[in-house]
Amino acid sequence: MSRTTGRSRNAAAATSLFLAGILALTACSAPGASTTDEPTADGDGAATASGDWTCGTDDVTLDAYLETGFPLSNALFEEFEKQYPNVSFDVREDQFAVITQNAPRVLADNPPDLMRLPQMSDLVDDGLLYNLDEAAAHFGWDEWPASQLAQMRVDDEGRRGDGPLYAMGKNYSMTGVFYNTELAAQIGMTEAPKTLAELDEWMQKAKDAGITPSTQFNGGATGGLAFPLQLLMASYGDVDAINDWTFQQPGARIDTESNIKAAEHLKKWIDAGYFADDINSLDYSQMMGRFIDGKSLFIFNGDWESGNLDTQMAGKAGFFLMPPLEEGGKVGAMSAPLTFGISSKAANPQCAAFFFDWIATNDEARTLAVEVGGSHPMGPADAFMPEVDPESVTGQTLAAGATIADDNGAMEFIANATGAIYAKSWTPNLQKLVAGDQTAEGLLQAVQADYESEING
């Protein structure tokens, strides 16, 4: 249409050259190569430990990056600021999914002093987390029950369970079965089932009475059937074998004989119609909403909801651990610390470590961990515990925690084995199990295959 003159052709050439120049400038080096000034894994970069594991007396602001919807952290910050007026907290909150996606970049680019952590082996691998071994030795964390810290240790190979300590818990959670006591009374269930067969019976009775046995969430990218599945695995088999798999120990498999039996049991529940028809479209908050509204007899969940249920369903909710195959048998539960870490580039790692120690050892902090967080505080086995009504949900979950400790039945969640295993493997396969497109055995084999390709790939 328009005639191109020689001059405008020159201009076009010049512009192209200019653009090409910019592109060349921006894209000639290999990605990530500019971050070669990574601090070493033991954190002797900018923040060198000087042996003073306190917050000092000068004004300090700790950068905190937290998960929204959990009031415990802010309650702890307020109490800490009261006790140590020179310390203040600069808090940023996001949903856990957002934290999961952004963790590596946040730790590298805006290093927080305290950060809620997702699955951490990759983060350690990239040298992004502060090594807390020295702090552990200084504060005596090594003398706490070893199982409390095991999940936060990562070795050179990226395997968890052993090696240097890279994170600390604000408390540790306990999972099991919550039930609506009013609905339970309607079908004659006055006490918690003692065997798995009894639980099966109550589910059937509920269904016969027109009560939905469970509205467990299983929609979107969050396959909540992983909760009952793993609890069943603990009833059928050995928790150590499951932990080996989650901690990426060499040769560990998820498709073992006992796990297949557990998955078959779950499939039996699905086929019997014990779960709501629409669980493949239910998310976590919808499940909680329905349970609190009295539309579900059981849900498989954790004690982070204990405080919430004590307020919203006062006297109407109870908790029990997934029952064993035979009465009096060993029980297991997913029990994980609410994990927080320090960036290896953090400005105040020692003050942050001091805060971790304070959470576990200060009486007020421990009270908050129980009353606000609903879970058992970290720390020595004989440390102070606040008074809790044993009839409350919080009281019942704390008691269950003691049972799990006696049985050595604590497990890390199988969804945390690798960064993507939950969203990309457990969830779609559990949804297929519900839809009838996957068998119990096929589910575990598919997850095992994805697990191997993720670890080796």
Binding site: A30, P31, G32, T100, D122, A221, D278
Partner: protein
């Protein structure tokens, strides 16, 4: 359309400039003016070009570059050549996601274009009335609502106890009610309905504006020749809005292939990967599996695929121009 084309001849005024006393002076004046114009034009283009380079071209080039590396987004990277591309072929769920995207074209593109044509042809007949204004506004409204809000709203409507199922129960269709987004056989269609609802407004408005430009004399002539409404539609309306249809199809097909927000909000790719689309897969690869190279390779392949689908559509609608 043809007479509306701009002449686009910037040199004309120079040619028509009054004759100077000497040829040399005239040439110099011309040169100076062109230079001034050139600088002005450059000044106008540079700001936009700058942002275009930084936010469009640079990411594009970087994506291509990343696709040849094994990189987790933070640490050091290793050059792996075309390995990321060869590995794409080995992933079966990837093929599924592409098939899903192609299926979404039916809902995101065909349905709104056909419905848009029919509604626009209907509205055209009473274009001046208030009813036309109201229906146009109502149908265009979804286009104004953020996709995230639309997604959330529709997840409520399509839930087991949502409005859609309640209405179905009311008219005696209770036996087929279900969690539309939670059933592997209906989830993709349910997501498609949301997309169709969003895209209909855009298509309607585009097609309607195309139809208002049709010379009423054509319809009159057709009526004299004894053509009915159907014949009128196929003989006059449809051929006249050919270019608008082209724009609608192109925009909506790209929206279908690049779908992310609606799917992410309503199903996150579930249940059982039945609504997994390439956009979501790229996001999962990049941010959950932390395989930035692999995600980039998929993005590049997918971009080529989108072009391969869209370019023929462009040619098809321009053919008889």
């Amino acid at each position: 359309m043809n007479e509306m084309r701009t002449t686009g001849a910037p040199g004309r005024r120079e040619v028509a400039a009054p004759a100077s006393t000497s040829l040399e002076a005239r040439r110099r004046a011309l040169k100076a003016r062109r230079l001034r114009r050139g600088w002005a034009a450059l000044g106008l283009v540079v700001p936009a070009a700058f942002f275009y380079v930084i936010f469009v071209l640079r990411p594009l080039v970087l994506t291509v570059q990343y696709s040849f590396y094994d990189w987790n987004g933070v640490g050091a990277s290793t050059f792996v050549g075309a390995e990321n591309y060869t590995r794409l072929v080995e992933k079966p769920e990837l093929l599924g996601s592409i098939v899903n995207a192609l299926e979404l074209i039916i809902y995101f593109s065909f349905v709104p274009v056909i419905l848009g044509l029919l509604t626009a042809a209907t509205i055209r007949k009473f274009a001046a009335s208030r009813l036309a204004l109201v229906s146009r506004t109502v149908l265009f409204l979804p286009q104004v609502i953020p996709l995230v809000a639309a997604g959330i709203m529709w997840t409520w409507l399509l839930a087991t106890d949502g409005l859609v199922n309640e209405l179905m129960r009311l008219v005696g269709l209770g036996s087929i009610t279900r969690a539309w987004l939670g059933d592997t056989s209906t989830a993709l269609g349910a997501v498609g309905v949301i997309g169709a609802w969003v895209a209909l407004g855009l298509c309607l408005l585009l097609l309607l504006s195309g139809m208002t430009k049709i010379d009423p004399a054509l319809y009159e002539a057709a009526r004299i020749d004894g053509a009915g409404a159907v014949r009128e539609f196929f003989a006059i309306t449809l051929p006249s809005v050919r270019q608008e249809i082209g724009v609608c199809v192109t925009v909506t097909v790209i929206a279908a292939l690049a779908a992310f927000d609606i799917v992410y909000i309503s199903t996150q790719g579930g249940p059982a990967n039945s609504t997994l689309v390439p956009g979501l897969e790229i996001y999962y690869l990049g941010f959950f599996s932390r395989e930035v190279g692999q995600a980039s390779a998929l993005a590049v392949v997918f971009m080529v695929l989108v072009l391969a689908v869209v370019l023929p559509i462009q040619r098809l609608t321009k053919e008889e121009d």
